[in-house]
C-alpha cells in the first residue's frame, strides 16, 4: 500500500504493523499525531492494544517499564521536554534491560520556547544506555521502528531503543511511503519472547540495591550489550531489506563516498539536504561525499574510521551544542579519528530551533573551509545579529538606566 502522510502518522503505522500490545504516552508537540493515530487504530479495531493515557511523561515511561516487565511489547512516543521529564526513568528502563521502543521527535529545548527541530533533547539522553537510531526520511521512520523492536528484543541486546526523527521536517511534512503488508512484516518480526518477566508464582525484584562488589559487572554487561548491538543493528537492516524491502544503511549511510576526498557528516534530515550540497559541490569540482550517522548509540566507530581516515577534510554538521565545548557529533567524530587520520576536521553548529539549513549555506561554508578560511573548531554559520535581536539588549540598557536613577 502506498500512502502519502506525515512522518508521525507513518510512525503509528509502524507501531500497528509491529503488534504492539501496550502504548503509554503523553501528548507533546510535535509528537501528538503519533499517539492520536494509534488511538484511532485502537478505537477502530485495527490494533489489539491497551492505550494508557498517563498524566505525564515520567508516568508514561513508568507505565511502560511496568508493561515491558510483564513481557509485553510496549511503545511510547515523546519529544524534547517530555524526554527530559522522563530522563530518570530512561536510566531505569535500560538499567533493568527492558526491550521497548520509543519514538522521540527531535525538538529544541526551551526556553526560549520552541517547537521546531534540533537534536539537543536526544543528545542530552545520550548516556542512559538506550540505543539511538536517527532517521532521515519518512520511509526510514517506518522501516526503523519495525527494525527497532527486533534489535531491542534480541537476546544479545535486550535494551530499549529510541527512534529519532526531526520535528516538523519529518514529523509534519507529508511524503510518500510504501506501507508493507502485515504478513510480510510478521515474517521479519516474530512475536516478543521476553528473556524474563514478572511472575506471581516466582516472585523477584528487578533493579534492587546492588553493592560495589557487583555494580560494575551490571554496567559492563550493558556496555557489552551495546557493543553487540552494532552487528544486530546491521543484521536487522539487511534482513529487513530482504524480507520487506527498503534499506537506509546499517550504523551509517554513505552517499558518493567511493572516490571522495572531502566528506560531510550529519544526522537526521540535514543529511538529506547534505546530499543536495554534495551534488552542488561535485558540480563545482570538489570530490565530496556524505556520511550519515544513523546509529548514534552505539556509535559507528570503526565504520567512520573506514570511510573518513584517508580523506583530506571532514565537515561535521551539528544540530545541537554542548555548551562550553563544541558540537557533540564533532567531538565524537574527532575522538574516533584520533591517531588514525590526518584529515582536517571542521564543524558547523546550525539549524538550532528549526533554523532553516540550506544546501547553499553548506556549500559556501565547505568551500570556505577547503580554501583555509575556517578554523578547525565550532563555527556558527547561520547566527545573525540584527535589529530584531537588539530589542533584548535595549531592554537591558533601559533597565539599568532606570535602576541607577533610583
Amino acid at each position: 500500500m502506498r500512502l502519502v502522510d506525515t512522518g508521525n502518522h507513518i510512525a503509528a503505522h509502524a507501531v500497528r504493523l509491529s503488534h504492539v500490545e501496550v502504548v503509554s504516552a503523553y501528548p507533546i508537540t510535535p509528537q501528538t499525531q503519533v499517539i492520536e493515530e494509534i488511538s484511532r487504530f485502537i478505537s477502530e479495531g485495527e490494533m489489539d492494544c491497551e492505550y494508557i493515557p498517563v498524566e505525564s511523561e515520567h508516568s508514561a515511561m513508568a507505565a511502560m517499564i511496568g508493561s515491558a516487565s510483564m513481557g509485553v511489547r510496549s511503545f511510547s512516543a515523546t519529544s524534547s521536554h517530555g524526554l527530559a521529564y522522563m530522563h530518570e526513568l530512561l536510566h531505569w528502563a535500560a538499567g533493568i534491560r527492558l526491550p521497548m521502543v520509543m519514538v522521540n521527535v527531535n525538538r529544541a529545548m526551551g526556553p526560549g520556547w520552541n517547537i521546531w527541530c534540533d537534536h539537543q533533547d536526544t543528545l542530552a539522553a545520550r548516556d542512559t544506555g538506550w540505543i539511538q537510531l536517527h532517521c532521515a526520511s519518512h520511509q526510514e521512520v517506518l522501516d526503523t521502528v519495525i527494525q527497532a523492536f527486533r534489535i531491542s528484543e534480541d537476546p544479545l541486546v535486550t535494551l530499549p531503543v529510541m527512534v529519532c526523527y526531526d520535528a516538523i521536517v519529518i514529523s509534519h511534512n507529508y511524503m510518500q511511503v510504501e506501507i508493507p503488508e502485515q504478513e510480510t512484516v510478521d515474517k521479519f518480526l516474530p512475536p516478543f519472547r521476553s528473556m524474563w518477566k514478572l511472575d506471581f508464582k516466582h516472585p523477584f525484584t528487578h533493579g534492587s540495591v546492588i553493592y560495589p562488589d557487583d555494580y560494575e559487572e551490571v554496567r559492563y554487561s550493558m556496555f557489552e550489550a551495546l557493543e553487540s548491538a552494532r552487528d544486530v543493528i546491521k543484521k536487522a537492516a539487511s534482513e529487513y531489506e530482504s524480507a520487506v524491502g527498503g534499506y537506509h544503511g546499517g550504523l551509517i549511510e554513505t552517499y558518493q563516498m567511493e572516490d571522495a576526498d572531502v566528506a560531510l557528516v550529519a544526522m537526521g534530515s540535514i543529511a538529506s539536504e547534505g546530499r543536495v550540497a554534495v551534488d552542488e559541490l561535485r558540480r563545482k569540482g570538489h570530490k565530496c561525499g556524505l556520511v550519515r550517522v544513523r546509529s548514534y548509540r552505539p556509535f559507528p566507530m570503526q565504520e567512520l574510521r573506514d570511510v573518513l581516515s584517508d580523506l583530506r577534510a571532514v565537515m561535521i554538521i551539528d544540530r545541537a551544542i554542548s555548551f562550553g565545548m563544541e558540537g557533540p557529533l564533532y567531538s565524537e567524530v574527532k575522538a574516533v579519528l584520533y591517531g588514525k587520520s590526518d584529515a582536517e576536521v571542521y564543524n558547523l553548529v546550525t539549524g538550532l530551533g528549526g533554523r532553516d539549513v540550506t544546501f547553499e549555506m553548506i556549500v559556501e561554508n565547505t568551500e570556505a573551509a577547503l580554501k583555509g578560511k575556517m578554523e578547525q573548531m565550532s563555527t556558527w554559520p547561520t547566527v545573525r545579529m540584527n535589529e530584531h535581536h537588539m530589542v533584548s539588549r535595549r531592554g537591558l540598557e533601559e533597565f539599568w538606566k532606570e535602576g541607577s536613577a533610583q
Binding site: W196, F204, S208, E224, E227
Partner: protein
C-alpha cells in the same frame, strides 16, 4: 573493533528474590522494644497488618530477630496494649 576482554560477561542484571533478612538480623538496630499487654489486647490485629517488617504473627508473637523497634504497632494499637520499653544494654548488645 578492538578486543577489550577475551571473555564476554553476558547478561548481568540486578535481581533479588524474596528471602528472610538478606541484610542480616536487623533486630540489632532496636533501641525501644514493643511489649504487649495481653489483658488489654482485643485481638484486632492492627499491629499485625501495620508492622512494616512483617515481624508480628497473627497469634501476636513478635519476631525480635528483625523487629527494629519502629513503634508503629504501639502507635496504631487502638487498645493501647503495646508499650515501647527501652532495651537493656545487654539485650541490644
Amino acid at each position: 573493533m578492538p578486543k577489550r576482554k577475551k571473555e564476554k560477561i553476558g547478561f548481568v542484571s540486578t535481581i533479588s528474590v524474596p528471602s528472610e533478612g538478606s541484610v542480616g538480623l536487623t533486630g540489632s538496630w532496636r533501641i525501644f522494644k514493643p511489649v504487649l499487654n495481653e489483658e488489654r489486647c482485643n485481638k484486632c490485629l492492627f499491629c499485625w497488618i501495620y508492622c512494616p517488617e512483617g515481624c508480628i504473627t497473627k497469634d501476636l508473637k513478635i519476631n525480635f530477630d528483625y523487629c527494629k523497634g519502629c513503634g508503629i504497632c504501639a502507635e496504631e494499637c487502638p487498645a493501647k496494649a503495646i508499650t515501647m520499653v527501652k532495651e537493656e544494654a545487654d539485650e541490644t548488645g
